[in-house]
Amino acid sequence: MNVNQSAPPVPPFGQPQPVYPGYHQSGYGGQPGSTAPPTSYGAYNGPVPGYQQTPPPGVSRAPPSSEAPPASTAQAPCGQAAYGQFGQGDVQNGPSSTVQMQRFPGSQPFGSVPLAPVVSQPAVLQPFGPPPTSAQVTAQLAGMQISGAVAPALPPVGLGYGSFGPARGPQPNYGSPYPGASTFGSQPGPPQPLPPKRLDPDAIPSPIQVIEDDRNNRGSEPFVTGVRGQVPPLVTTNFLVKDQGNASPRYIRCTSYNIPCTSDMAKQAQVPLAAVIKPLARLPPEEASPYVVDHGESGPLRCNRCKAYMCPFMQFIEGGRRFQCCFCSCINDVPPQYFQHLDHTGKRVDAYDRPELSLGSYEFLATVDYCKNNKFPSPPAFIFMIDVSYNAIRSGLVRLLCEELKSLLDFLPREGGAEESAIRVGFVTYNKVLHFYNVKSSLAQPQMMVVSDVADMFVPLLDGFLVNVSESRAVITSLLDQIPEMFADTRETETVFAPVIQAGMEALKAAECAGKLFLFHTSLPIAEAPGKLKNRDDRKLINTDKEKTLFQPQTGAYQTLAKECVAQGCCVDLFLFPNQYVDVATLSVVPQLTGGSVYKYACFQVENDQERFLSDLRRDVQKVVGFDAVMRVRTSTGIRAVDFFGAFYMSNTTDVELAGLDGDKTVTVEFKHDDRLNEESGALLQCALLYTSCAGQRRLRIHNLALNCCTQLADLYRNCETDTLINYMAKFAYRGVLNSPVKTVRDTLITQCAQILACYRKNCASPSSAGQLILPECMKLLPVYLNCVLKSDVLQPGAEVTTDDRAYVRQLVTSMDVAETNVFFYPRLLPLTKSPIESATEPPAVRASEERLSNGDIYLLENGLNLFLWVGASVQQGVVQSLFSVSSFSQITSGLSVLPVLDNPLSKKVRGLIDSLRAQRSRYMKLIVVKQEDKLEMLFKHFLVEDKSLSGGASYVDFLCHMHKEIRQLLS
């Protein structure tokens, strides 16, 4: 019995996980009681001083407690220094010096640890057949090797990892013949008392570790964008950006900052070349937003041939009289009013006075030529369209919303120092018919106009529908007061949907402006009208070839409608409050194509969901938006933007049309070669976004980015960004489910990933045993992240995941940025009670696996959408008392969504932490308190992505092995 092994060699912040040693899946066996009766847990010992010593790299931390199992600690060293050494793209990714291997056991504060494993082991392994199976693959963490010895064993096994589907067989005994020790040939690490029999989870690359390292290494100094092809810090790292000619990574992130010179190379590597662009990204207050450049009547200076905008890469020649376009090499004359002399380096003297010559991101004021119908746009409008059917009234939504709008209207987005917002507002309520409101300032009372001709929607009024908030405040307030009253007795349960959007769009058309519709909708639109839907939800379709239909819209009507909306610059934000199936896949078509957002509040109840909804609404209404936008990505010769992902509409192959674009929306662009690239000149991207600001000003925002080009594959692998890669791959896969069976999509992902890694192994890694799994440093998290994507609800739904949820997530991910996808796929798990209360910083995260949870602790888990507070069964009473104000664990209400406001340091700290987490995310995360062993825990465990999931998703370890197998197959 490998007791030692199961007492995990704790990663720096690991917790002893006595119950589920090593093999993390065990928890699902359904016999938690037998394995680890709560009573058997040791008491919580509180934070141990030694714990705090973790960070210093390379410093060995003594086990703080004598009880800590000595056993396997040495096996998975994880010196942070080692990471540092590998830094960015050091060639040596293969097996290397022992130093790197050292991972210190870290603290083992929990006395009871050693005992548990013994007990639990059989239970743990029970569901998976022979216990020792998975233990053979041992990893040398830092070297990223998985013992080559494993390999021979694999072929006979064959089925081992067919398990990625639901039909997971018992794990064969592969590897069992191999004494683990032998595989560590080169590993000089600390002594290992017992040869490991399975792949140690701590030995495989840890996202937490990588994130932490990057934070430590790169978080301290600003990222200066002056140098071409620099890989920026990870999205999880807080860093400042200094724009010195390239766009900030907040605007553009690439999968690779070193592009293969030839398409052959690119094909060989299979690394997708993509950029994730967030043109209107919000910047931290320390960074200046892009300067606005006004070139007067002549408009922005552009290349005559390719129409690229003036940027720092343009070469001025002939003493400044001409410039050569950096994208198409065309030589253009410099207009006289723009002429400036060059200095001795060939730079314009005024380069630093002009943002467009010195910065990566800036804005031009557009001239009338850039406006629709050659007319400067009028200020945009917001139209609030409120479902007032029975469901909406009963749930209290309408009352809540109307109450909120009264104050929210004071916070409409405004430009710069403007006194008040230029945005006009309008109101519509609807059920089976639409009610428009005339809120003209001259009226004493609002007037309601009912349009029941939903088949042929039109706007019944012109004057008084869209009004200035401050002018019509009294009327608007009166209206918002009366709406809940007017419909208080409604019996109408049927609703329409398409006509509502149509009406909003027609209203904007009539007012000749762009704008945004805020739709608050509750139910499947079954009333007789265009866009009428039927309930077509069918779980039986899952895992069949027809599964894709669940993601496709029911009718083409919404696409047509969306097209009209885009043409009018009408962006649609949809707030859904369903009690049952509403067909999100169809309803979200218009928001998706118009650059809007969808928010979903299933089974909305004012008491529970008020905070979340209002917070989302506030943020959504207040956020800065651009309207009626067109985005175009230009590239220097050699590569070309070929594919786009995100919430937008494209009527041709190059222009991304966005009826609305806010600071959270991301567009992912994929590039392909169409010629050879030149190492010297590199590759340039210029993303130009033409949009109408919230004050109605027409502007062009330009982002420039220069990338390196390489002839060596190693350079490519050294300059990759896994987070961006995952962002791209997730979007690619999520789009794929519309057209192909989910299984095919998953296989494609796995194959591509295997090819990427195999190519590295073949071309870049130093020769080693074929059985070794060698991962490029920059991509060592690729398998774990990819596994998370594969296990996500869209690609592998669990039983409790509804069709609507999947469609919802699918469309959410489509416009997520890198930071969002990162945390969405690999949630953050923060222990709350480990670090001392006084510590002001966020507690260091732990890996998302059940075995990292200690039943004496409390954890927060967030993925950008959900927020869980997990309470271990044997948490100290004092902690329970100070957090929940109840005396014991059993008295904590499961599913609680608000923590009581208590005046003690712990409560303050936890609530403060929750607030700060929420502040980081674009959507409000509703808190759910989950008690260990409670039925809600299932929900929580779903987010422990390193574990095997109930729906059949592989555990990290299993997936890594599978990946290894795939790679080996490719190599052989």
Partner: protein, 804 residues
């Protein structure tokens, strides 16, 4: 024995009936030879202050096909308590309530002076009056303001329990919900889309909600119609609301670019109004009042496009088949009118604009439902304001002078059948034994529906004598006709008015003199005119004129006295003497002449002609001209240019216009200010006299006439000049100037005018008919020929020659 004149007058006063013949030819053959059909003008609700309604129900003949109502002409056996129906001769028992009757104790309906009697039906809940305003908002600001004021004023005139509704329209149509508090609510419809009644009711949410509520609470009193209609509310509840709503009414906000007409969705608005009432209050008296300030320019029922450069259709366009929208629009409004009539509602049209508003297309809405049609230049004129106010005038009992949802049933004795009716009615298609196969006007039925009536509404009802020549009627036999009018009185009671009349039969061969003497030429002229106008709606103008001419000639042939080859010997008896002259003026009237009138005007004139009583109709046919001078009291003068004299003031009443015209000298005097000098007070009085008289006419008339005060040389003088016979300017074969107006000399000497007519007739009788006739009508023919052919020459044209 009293004269026929007295008899006729007495009958008219008592029964509201004027027959063309008061002694009836006893066989079909003879009747047809009489040329003027046996017909009557019936004013069903003629005001009878002396006739209080009886508070019980009529007694009906028990024969199912007859169901005639007990009347003074019935034979009554007081002992056996039996009565014999005078139409079918069925013997009927009196109902139990009549057990006490005897010769000395007769119920009212058996007394001869109650040949017209009115019953009040007590059954059924009274239904309130309904007024649905349909208001155009594409008006000029001051027009809209005036209209709003008029509407607000009208609210104060309505009875407090009347239901009112409001629909406004422009580019869109808004149905205002009146019940709500706080927010004013309206349902909006696209003005371009034709909706079925079902769709409209669905969209207004009228279809389902009322039912389940009632089932849930069976104990509740049946308040169903009030619950289900949020759009029609008792005025006392929403008076303030509606007044505010009207006050806040704005002009249609949609921009109208230069060179365009505003988009006006009259067709849809009307359709929604009809659909709304259809769904909520079928078969209840209701008025839809349409106020429009221009032609419908979009959607179903559009009359003209919105391009100003394309003018609205004229008679010329219609001739040339150039009126693009006319047929479709007419069809739309006809469909609406028929639906409205079926539901027993009526539609008023108040059209005020300088240009045409599409009355031609919309006319059936008012014509078929008994609604009013008012045409004016602007809502901001006293013409409209006072006319509109007059709608709500009350009678001596304080009730509105309006009735709703009436059905008129005509029963005849066997020798007669009903051929048809002309007036503001629609056929109910009730076939029966007394329905003739020959149709005159709206025929093929014995019952008509008149959705809206007032005490002056008059129908022309035409009969056919069916008695065969070989089945003589015994001496002293009388034919009988019973008119049964069921209606909703404005006090919301249901009432039945029964008029039973009888006339003697006479053998036309032996007793032609009797028949001749009992001819009512005024009634006959109006009845013939109605036939002519009815024909003119569907036939070409010249055909109608030819038909009228032929009828006149045939009549003269039949009843004229004439010595061969002596035109001067031609004579018509007194009872026929005026008839040719009426026909003469009728030919020139705007009812048959479209020259110089827009299609809208023609429709307007014809509308009123088909519903006014005899006196008003005669004024329309032949305007009245009074002359005021220092020489004596005002006197009627000939409607001729010779009457225009320098020292006279003329007052002309054409029904639609009242013109005061100062002769040249008078005008100069006035200009000199003599009227202000005390010594010329008589001049002041002279000036005042016609004004006072005009005012008297203005007070009584509906619609309010156009009031024109002009003088010699004034531009408005054309109104007079266009009416008078231009004898002074046309050097005609005959000396028109000497002709004296027959009206002047009704009792006295022979009018030259008649002489002339006789001359032509006699000439026609023996010579080339056509040619003589053309000569005879002289400039009249010329005039009409101009208008029809547009070529301006009448002589020698085959079109004129082929009159007969």
């Amino acid at each position: 024995m009293a004269t026929y004149l007295e008899f006729i007058q007495q009958n008219e006063e008592r029964d509201g009936v004027r027959f063309s013949w008061n002694v009836w030819p006893s066989s079909r053959l003879e009747a047809t030879r009489m040329v003027v059909p046996l017909a009557c003008l019936l004013t069903p609700l003629k005001e009878r202050p002396d006739l209080p309604p009886v508070q019980y129900e009529p007694v009906l003949c028990s024969r199912p096909t007859c169901k005639a109502i007990l009347n003074p002409l019935c034979q009554v056996d007081y002992r056996a308590k039996l009565w014999a129906c005078n139409f079918c001769f069925q013997r009927n028992q009196f109902p139990p309530a009549y057990t006490g009757i005897s010769e000395v104790n007769q119920p009212a309906e058996l007394m001869p002076q109650f040949s017209t009697i009115e019953y009040v039906i007590q059954r059924g809940a009274p239904s309130p009056l309904i007024f649905l305003y349909v208001v155009d908002t594409c008006l000029e600001e001051d027009d809209l303001q005036a209209l709003k004021e008029s509407l607000q004023m009208s609210l104060s005139l309505l009875p407090p329990d009347a239901l009112v509704g409001l629909i406004t329209f422009g580019r869109m149509v808004q149905v205002h919900e009146l019940s709500c508090e706080g927010i004013s609510k309206s349902y909006v419809f696209r003005g371009t889309k034709d909706l079925t009644a079902k769709q409209i009711q669905d969209m207004l949410g009228l279809t389902k909600p009322a039912m389940p509520m009632q089932q849930a609470r069976p104990g509740q009193p049946q308040e169903h119609p009030f619950v289900s209609s949020r759009f029609l509310q008792p005025i006392h509840k929403i008076d303030m609301n509606l007044t505010d709503l009207l006050g806040e009414l704005q002009r249609d906000p949609w921009p109208v670019t230069q060179g365009k007409r505003p988009l006006r969705s009259t067709g849809v608005a009307l359709s929604i109004a009809v659909g709304l009432l259809e769904g909520t209050f079928p078969n209840t008296g209701a008025r839809i009042m349409l106020f429009t300030g221009g032609p419908p320019t979009q959607g179903p029922g559009m009359v003209v496009g919105d391009e100003l450069k394309v003018p609205i259709r004229s008679w010329h366009d219609i001739e040339k088949d150039n009126a693009r929208f006319m047929k479709k629009a007419t069809k739309h409004y006809e469909m609406l009118a028929n639906r409205t009539a079926t539901n027993g509602h009526c539609i008023d049209i108040y059209a005020c604009a300088l240009d045409q508003t599409g009355l031609l297309e919309m006319k059936c809405c008012a014509n078929l439902t008994g609604g009013h049609m008012v045409m004016g230049d602007s809502f901001n004129t006293s013409l409209f304001k006072q006319t509109f106010q007059r709608i709500f005038t009350k009678d001596f009992n304080g009730d509105f002078r309006m009735a709703f949802g009436a059905t008129l049933e005509v029963k005849t004795s066997r020798e007669l059948k009903v051929a048809g009716a002309i007036g503001p009615c629609v056929s109910l298609n009730v076939k029966g034994p007394c329905v003739s196969e020959n149709e005159l006007g709206v025929g093929g039925t014995s019952q008509w529906k008149i959705c809206g009536m007032d005490p002056t509404s008059t129908l022309g009802i035409y009969f056919e004598v069916v008695n065969q020549h070989n089945a003589p009627i015994p001496q002293g036999g009388r034919g009988a006709i019973q008119f049964v009018t069921q209606y909703q009185h404005s006090s919301t009671q249901r009432r039945i008015r029964v008029t039973t009349i009888a006339r003697n039969w006479a053998d036309a061969q032996s007793q032609l003199r009797h028949i001749e003497a009992a001819f009512d030429q005024e009634a006959a002229a109006v009845l013939m005119a109605r036939l002519g106008v009815f024909r003119a709606e569907s036939e070409e103008g010249p055909d109608v004129l030819r038909w009228l001419d032929r009828q006149l000639i045939r009549l003269c042939q039949k009843f004229g006295q004439y010595n061969k080859e002596d035109p001067t010997s031609f004579r018509l008896s007194d009872s026929f003497s005026l008839y040719p002259q009426f026909m003469f003026h009728l030919r020139r009237s705007p009812f048959l002449q479209v020259f110089n009138n827009s299609p809208d005007e023609s429709s307007y004139y014809r509308h009123h002609f088909a519903r006014q009583d005899l006196t008003q109709s005669l004024i329309m046919i032949q305007p009245i001209l009074y002359s005021y001078s220092f020489h004596g009291p005002p006197e009627p003068v000939l409607l001729d240019s010779s009457s225009i004299l320098a020292d006279r003031i003329l007052l002309m009443d054409t029904f639609f216009q009242i013109v005061i015209y100062l002769g040249e000298t008078i005008a100069q005097w006035r200009k000199a200010g003599y009227q202000d000098m005390p010594e010329y007070e008589n001049f002041k009085h002279l000036l005042q006299a016609p004004l006072d008289d005009a005012q008297e006419i203005l007070q009584a008339r509906f619609p309010m006439p156009r009031y024109i005060n002009t003088e010699h040389g004034g531009s408005q003088a054309r109104f007079l000049l266009s009416k008078v016979n231009p004898s002074q300017t046309h050097n005609n074969l005959y000396a028109w100037g000497q002709v004296r107006n027959c009206q002047v000399s009704r009792g006295g000497g022979q009018a030259l005018f008649e002489k002339l007519v006789s001359k032509w007739i006699s000439l026609a009788l023996e010579t080339e008919f056509t040619q003589v006739f053309c000569w005879g009508w002289g400039w009249g023919g010329n005039f009409e020929y101009c208008s029809w052919g547009g070529r301006g020459h009448w002589c020698g044209s085959p079109a004129v020659h082929s009159i007969i």
